[in-house]
Symmetry: C2
Subunit: 500 residues, 2 copies
């Protein structure tokens, strides 16, 4: 049986290598490819996708898994080995349960709907998009049905993107979070103490912003000998192990864009770099879930990067690098400005506090759509109502409303909530970290950021995909995911900032 | 039968796509990869090589080729279709005639010998390298024997790298060339008119050298919307069709290094970009041979780039870009300096005139080694004798002598002569171009470099691999490859430069 297990590992190792090649093709495409290389790259990517799929549906995988699980020696496998078997089976089921003809049709429709969505957003024309959205969401439901016909399709998709999750759990988590946030945001907005936001819009030359990014990266232990920083329209992280690359975006009149994108992506990158060396190319050596990935990026970006503690240390260095640009700015004013609270239309530009309400709005809408309580016809109206209700924001048009995100145009629902789970996990990790290292604030103030990133490495990153996300959180914090830690963290932080 | 032919095209199309991916992995490795990504990239490249090999030895290829050639409809195929069939068969034979066990053993020994060679060169220690060189050359002979046991192994390898070539043809070409060059070089060195070489060593900031490269690239019609320029230790070109990338090397105290490497690689790149669109991914749509590739690079670098005609136009622009750096330099002095003749040890640093003697030396040594007239023991001594004889250069040590090139460490002989064939083809093309466009010099002086590159595109580049190299030369110039054109071109050019 050991031999069969090794055979499986080697099949999955090869699939991982192909995935690495695929990620490199994607990176090159977005960062350095000559503009007219698009079509050629399309051929290459199509070839690699096809190859990946062929390897993943190899019936040999199914046979080996069956034989191993039926073997009397199965029970002697270690937890790690059993987890590998479990993850292989999960992946194999996912790729083999969907009929190839459906995949072809779905992919074709996704490409088409994506193009229609781009145009509709540009022209602020939801009506044109509507029939395509309806069709692709129906196909998304079909996709979920193929995966598991016995569960509600939205529960299938929630579990697909964040293993173990479903509506019941999300409802329980998001309801108290929503209430707490709405009230906290209101208080912040009503506070007489408001930040000097002009600080953020001071013209900061891109060369200086690059210097800042390259200065902060080693501080937070993202290893550039195993990575690189480039520029792209949409910041992203790609690769794993010894080759993990990030991109950021420089705006001359808004330096936080590049600085915090760098910290955010560095968080993702550290996770991918710090996966356990011994488990590389094994399913357990992969990252745990999108939510846990996001927990890492937001831990580095927000919990460290926007904390007063970090800036107590970093502000002097920051001022040195930026010359005279911020010489008149006090530490407290600066930290308040980078933590400004301002309800606005666009999710990806939202602050730490309002962000989660953007997500909860999408979660509730997806859920209601999938439950048939909201129709695609009513979607823009309900969107705008909820924006008013949750964020007291009047949406001006569908382009800044229901059309803003790419996600639904692929027919895939259930992804959005993982973003907020990242924040929830992150705050819960911070709570545990504070118990483990009660003096972390003083250490960070002295520039010892490593004490935080080492904790994350040891407790979260190195565990890879050894557990499903909620199990991982429990293994680390001895408790199921609990939104109260995020509520407490945000309440404490913002009460100080806004003198509540 | 048409259907079988289409099936073959689609198999070879896929092999081409994999080759593109392989080239991208290689480019990334040399240009942008994080230093510690080496091992991971090794896995990816090994996977792609294995995949390429699997696809190339697919027995289906052999069956289809046989069926097509035995079909009564075969004779109705067009020349292009028959040429595709021929090239597919050639490629299939090449990859299937070598036993897989031998390939594995050979590759392993190549990697080892390469490492030993690097160390030996560094330490100027031929003795340590010698037994490995002997072994790998024996394996190289074995490789040739597998390909064709009926021919002399060196003839097999000459044909392998430049289809249609053998010792008889090379001897006939290189003998008059050698005599003419030895005499011409002697005259140049004895001439009282010698160039002001200090011009070449003026400190030229790398930023300015980059500007020069980016200025000259569009002039010679290498399309950067389908390519890019980067920096690497050893300049190279990679990719094809709509994604062809070049690198150059900047030396602050020797600007010709980057400028002419850019022109050289742009020549390679134009060839790869200008392959006929309709034939992409077909064997006939590939480049013809290494020699014809080199004919392109040297045509752009030397025939255009080091000509007085080009500089009559370009020198003012060059001076504008370089500011005051060359303001005291006259056109004639500049052109003389960039065409300096100076026998020296290292092939890759040799000038246009001495370069071919470096090649002929290697050709004669390879030939004599393979014929058993020279042994690996005698190699350094014979090398040094020949350097004295051909270039009147006293080799100081083996590091600058027999150890300088990487080629033999792979056990592959027969590649070197293709470099000189590039010069021979190029001069012959120039002769034909001069008949077709008698006023090309005046056009180039006016800045119309396109008239030259368009001619190359139409007459050479677009023909791809429609003919073997000698046939291509004949199709273009109505004559077999003839070294006299190179002799005449060099004699005329250098007589003017050195007042002979």
């Amino acid at each position: 049986m050991k031999e069969k297990y090794e055979q499986l590992l080697s099949i999955f190792r090869e699939i991982q290598v192909i995935e690495q090649i695929s990620m490199l093709l994607g990176w090159d495409n977005q960062v350095v490819m000559p503009p007219k290389g698009v079509e050629q790259r399309g051929n290459q990517m199509a070839f690699i996708s096809k190859l990946q799929h062929e390897k993943a549906i190899n019936p040999k995988i199914g046979e080996l898994l069956k034989e191993i699980k039926e073997s009397p020696e199965y029970k002697n496998l270690s937890y790690e080995e059993k987890r590998n078997i479990y993850l292989m089976q999960r992946e194999y089921d996912r790729v083999t349960k969907i009929p190839p003809e459906f995949i072809a049709e779905f992919t074709k429709q996704q490409v088409l709907t994506h193009e229609i969505w781009k145009k509709a957003r540009q022209e602020n024309n939801y009506e044109e998009y509507k029939p395509y959205l309806k069709k692709i969401l129906d196909m998304g439901k079909q996709f979920a049905n193929y995966l598991n016909p016995d569960l509600h399709p939205y529960d299938v998709m929630l579990d697909y993107f964040e293993p173990g999750m479903n509506r019941e759990k999300y409802n329980k988590i998001f309801t108290p979070l929503k209430e707490a946030l709405v009230s906290l945001i209101k208080k912040c907005l009503e506070s007489p103490k408001q930040p000097r936001v002009e600080i953020l819009n001071r013209k900061c030359p891109i060369e200086i912003q690059k210097k800042l990014s390259l200065d902060v990266i080693p501080l937070i232990n993202y290893d550039l000998e195993r990575g690189r920083l480039d520029e792209a329209a949409h910041p992203f992280t790609t690769g794993n192990y010894d080759d993990v690359r990030i991109t950021t975006r420089y705006l001359e009149n808004y330096f936080p864009s590049s600085f915090f994108a760098t910290m955010h992506e560095s968080g993702h990158a550290c996770y991918d770099q710090n996966l356990k060396k011994e488990w590389r190319y094994q399913p357990i050596g992969n990252y745990c879930s999108m939510g846990i990935h996001e927990a890492n990026s937001r831990f580095y970006e927000n919990i460290i990067g926007r904390s007063i503690d970090f800036w107590k240390f970093y502000f002097n260095r920051f001022k040195e690098i930026t010359g005279t640009l911020f010489e008149d700015v006090e530490l407290d004013d600066f930290v308040h400005a980078i933590n400004n609270v301002q309800p606005s239309a666009i999710r990806v530009e939202a602050d730490e506090l309002t962000y989660n309400l953007h997500i909860i709005l999408r979660y509730e809408l997806e859920r209601d759509l999938m439950e048939g309580k909201v129709t695609v016809d009513e979607l823009p109206e309900v969107w705008n109502q909820k924006m008013k209700e949750l964020l007291d924001y009047e949406v001006k048009n569908d382009a800044e409303g229901v059309l803003q995100d790419i996600h639904w145009s692929s027919g895939m629902v259930g992804y959005f909530p993982t973003y907020s789970m990242g924040n929830i996990y992150g705050a819960q990790f911070l709570h545990k970290l504070s118990n483990d290292i009660p003096n972390w604030r003083e250490e960070v103030e002295k520039g010892n950021i490593k004490i935080m990133t080492d904790w994350m490495k040891k407790n979260v990153q190195e565990k890879g995909n050894l557990y499903d996300p909620a199990e991982l959180v429990k293994a680390v914090t001895s408790e199921e995911p609990n939104p109260q830690y995020l509520i407490d963290y945000l309440t404490e932080k913002y009460s100080k900032l806004f003198n509540l």
